[in-house]
Symmetry: C2
């Protein structure tokens, strides 16, 4: 596939993912989550501070967790779409450690790994797999939080 | 203090906590979080499914995490209020494990422990402490998820 066509397709996939979240997960719309980019390996999301603020005037931990958990979910979803695999992606378990208070927009980045690629191969052959994906949250130059999530996927019979 | 007066005060504290969250944490208002009750030992919160739904028509993991993390935060806040301690309660770290899909209203319950009481005594004497509090999420008769959160508190100098 020609590079520019691929880029175009990725932009369309990102727009479709964002629209699906806003339509089907009302809290993602309330948070104002946007899909910033996907390059085939990493997925970037963003949310403004104002709708996600807490009693301290910084980002609410629940919003940070939501953004990070969707980043991992979205990356599994996009990698499955690239390989024309359709199945339910279910969040199983997650951990977040907040490192610095977030005083501005927050960005989430999840990067695809060799282990995730191996899980995707297992999914294609056995019909089910689990993905463990770390997501890092940034505010400006700072790493604001570290998240790790586990997602279970099962293909339709 | 007379029992009925105490109960009345707790109801007022619960209403004030709910109002503060809705005013200062817009996502808690979007989620429709309500404070169901506090009896001096345990705090109960609730959220309806509709505003917290995900792509599968069940509760969004991010909403479950937000509800659970606020339950622990709220219980520390109420216990500090009872002892007339005022200080910032900051979420540090949390983990959630989803056990069953949530098809209806979800309830969160956080129960005060001896360890938390010891941390509160440390807070009163040293001016800072960390609280580790588990919160359980219920849907109907089912335990839907298990959460554990850590909160750092520092009293003003």
């Amino acid at each position: 596939m020609h590079e520019s066509t691929t880029r175009h397709d990725w932009r369309a996939l990102c727009r479709a993912l964002e629209a699906r979240w806003h339509n089907e997960i009302p809290i993602s719309a309330a948070m104002g989550i946007t899909v910033d980019g996907f390059d085939g390996t990493r997925l970037d999301l963003r949310a403004a501070l104002a709708p996600n603020v807490n009693v301290h005037g910084t980002a609410f931990a629940g919003s940070l967790f939501s953004l990070a958990s969707l980043c991992g979910w979205g990356l599994v979803h996009l990698q499955m779409q690239r390989r024309e695999l359709a199945g339910a992606i279910v969040f199983v378990e997650g951990n977040i450690r907040c490192l610095k208070p977030v005083h501005d927009d927050v960005r989430a980045r999840c990067v695809w790994s060799e282990a995730a690629d191996a899980a995707l191969a297992t999914l294609a052959t056995s019909g089910k797999a689990r993905f463990r994906l770390p997501t890092r949250l940034h505010c400006g130059e700072d790493v604001a939080a570290e998240f790790s999530g586990e997602y279970a996927v099962r293909l339709p019979p």
